[in-house]
Subunit: 371 residues, 2 copies
């Protein structure tokens, strides 16, 4: 991403700030409070505070100054060390750089905790501190939900790498060259870095038939056998150029009638839902057709049908029966129906779907691997 | 861990609650807000809400009910799905199970965000909602800082596995069988699971001489060469039975004079600091001797000297020049001096140190691997 992109994104935010009479927006990303708006607005990937003034200029306070030099674009950079690595001191300094009038509105991240907010109030009592869900953070998230062509070309590349890994995996699994959950997970880690990714986009889940009944098996993978008779789950994604992919490959071997029926039901649910991933359609419709199908068989799905994908693998929006999201052109969502049973095992089938002008485009190519 | 441990921990918390007139404590662990107090108090590893009443009994609201059956001990278990996966509805239900009088004090996690707190106030206006840093969460963290013999035996096992991996790594590196950062990282992932771990305790950092100048190279490892001439950093830990280890192995090859001096200075800092890891000693003393040594050479360390280790790899306490921690018997801290320079490269040396009755015991055995 070149610097113009960050300038243009911050300009949009500045317009929002003017409209809402906000003088300063604070973005924070630290362990336990990750926030990809940081990367979206200045390119810095992790561990920093970013202050954005209402002319679109910014101050970046990174933990790692050298990393900032390499990856970030901000008019001003001050290392966090200067403030004894204390957020409230760094934020106070950013505020003082702005020379704001009394009562100026400072919009803090909605992830600010109650104790942190109280502490900031002590330091910044002259200003109007704002911390709410409907804020600039949500506005920036809204920008992130609609992917630009440049972002989509990165996401298509992430999807293509994912597909390439799935193809290699299918070959290796068929040739019995990967025999444990751990083999499969580490093969993915290695391949994705070889193909230019920063890593996987979340902890890879590889669960053989013994453990596939869990939505997210704990731990993510073990040294146990994979590809044995029954239903297996392999859920992974890559992080390429900051953007995530997310697929679940269903691995099936010597299925009994019940297992085969479950798998077919999940595939049927996928097809029904995909036909609802259309611009202008409420996301809840897709979730409802799946729930209704499963309900006919007295089954329920213990998780959502999908989530938006972008800089984060869970990028903010959800596809559930109560979702208020309306699908729009440029949005990317996972579509991942699944069924789980302690005796039968679990199966899930998942692709990443781009909403287009007149329908959708399935970016990834997951599959049922039959061994 | 058997169930008695969870009962006894919750009893201790109940005593604290009585003393502080708290009727209910809420613990939450979700994506973006991880909290190992959940596992400490009931065994459930992830994604759940736990309510503890002032008689020590509890209600667990897990995302994955099957996982709860296998790993958790709580008098009552209600799946989160029952509440549409909405925290505030689950918490309201737990409150209503308590039949508390009006104004009863409900202690919420200090990680509760301002918007979440406001939402809860709407539902639970009759009660006194409390959200502060000095709370039951901090009290439980305090319990966690002093490890019991049972916990130490798990941590010793985690350390032994870590050492075993370091030994294997040294052999493989010396034999030139691992040639990229990715090779090293994936070898660790594979070995730790083979040796019975749930995984690594944090994202493994493997940075060859080209990237070792960064405190935490981004991304954690690439397909680039490892073990080439210069200073390399290899920082990893394992998660065994829920408990973390954390070591940094210094890898050195064909060092020039400047690089050799830096490494020696770091090792000297390590020895000086270790002599300060003693019961009754303020943690800041250890940090100060290191800072003073480096200052004599006009150098500064851009990160803390150490952190407590337990269920989390960063378990809450820090060893810095401004730390107020006093070392106590049963505490475990990392000791990890490091120096970083864009031209010279970076090096860090790190072990996990248990504070004992009359000194300390170094649990892990990191080393300088010379290639």
């Amino acid at each position: 991403m070149n610097n113009d992109i960050f300038v243009s994104r911050r300009k949009k935010l500045a317009e929002y700030m003017h409209k809402n009479e906000i003088s300063l927006v604070i973005v924070e990303d630290f362990e336990g409070r990750r926030n990809s708006n940081l990367r979206y607005l200045c390119g810095h990937p992790t561990d920093a505070i970013l202050g954005i003034f209402n002319d679109g200029t910014s101050v970046l306070v990174p933990w790692d100054e050298i990393l900032a030099k390499k990856m970030a674009f901000s008019e001003t950079v001050v290392p966090l060390n200067k403030f004894g690595r204390q957020s409230h001191r760094a934020i106070s300094e950013i505020v003082s750089m702005g020379n704001f009038p009394k009562k100026a509105v400072i919009d803090l991240p909605p992830t600010t905790t109650v104790p942190a907010f109280e502490k900031l109030k002590n330091f910044l009592g002259d200003y109007t501190l704002q911390c709410k869900e409907d804020s600039s953070e949500k506005y920036v998230h809204g920008l992130r939900h609609i992917k630009s062509d440049e972002e989509l070309s990165v996401m298509r590349k992430a999807a293509a790498i994912t597909d390439e890994i799935v193809s290699s995996l299918e070959k290796k699994l068929t040739a019995r060259e990967l025999s444990t959950e751990s083999d499969v997970a580490l093969f993915i880690e290695k391949e994705c870095r070889k193909l230019g990714c920063d890593g996987t986009s979340f902890d890879t889940l590889v669960a053989g038939p013994e453990r596939s009944f869990a939505i997210h098996a704990f731990p993510g993978y073990t040294n146990g056998a994979f590809g044995s008779p029954g239903l297996s789950i392999l859920d992974f994604g890559v992080n390429y150029g900051g953007y995530a992919s997310d697929v679940t490959v269903t691995v099936a071997r010597d299925l009994n009638f019940q297992q085969e029926s479950r798998l077919n039901l999940v595939l049927q649910a996928y097809d029904l839902a995909l036909a609802q991933y259309l611009p202008g359609q409420p996301a809840k419709n897709a979730a409802s057709v799946v729930d209704e199908l499963f309900a006919k068989h007295n089954l329920t799905m213990p998780h959502g049908l999908g989530h938006s994908i972008g800089l984060d693998v869970h990028d903010g929006l959800r596809v559930t029966p109560t979702s208020e999201v309306i699908f729009e052109k440029g949005m990317v969502f996972s579509l991942e129906p699944g069924l789980y049973d302690e005796k039968i095992g679990g199966c899930r089938y998942e692709n990443d779907v781009l909403i287009t002008e007149d329908g959708n485009e399935v970016l990834t190519k997951t599959r049922v691997v039959r061994l």
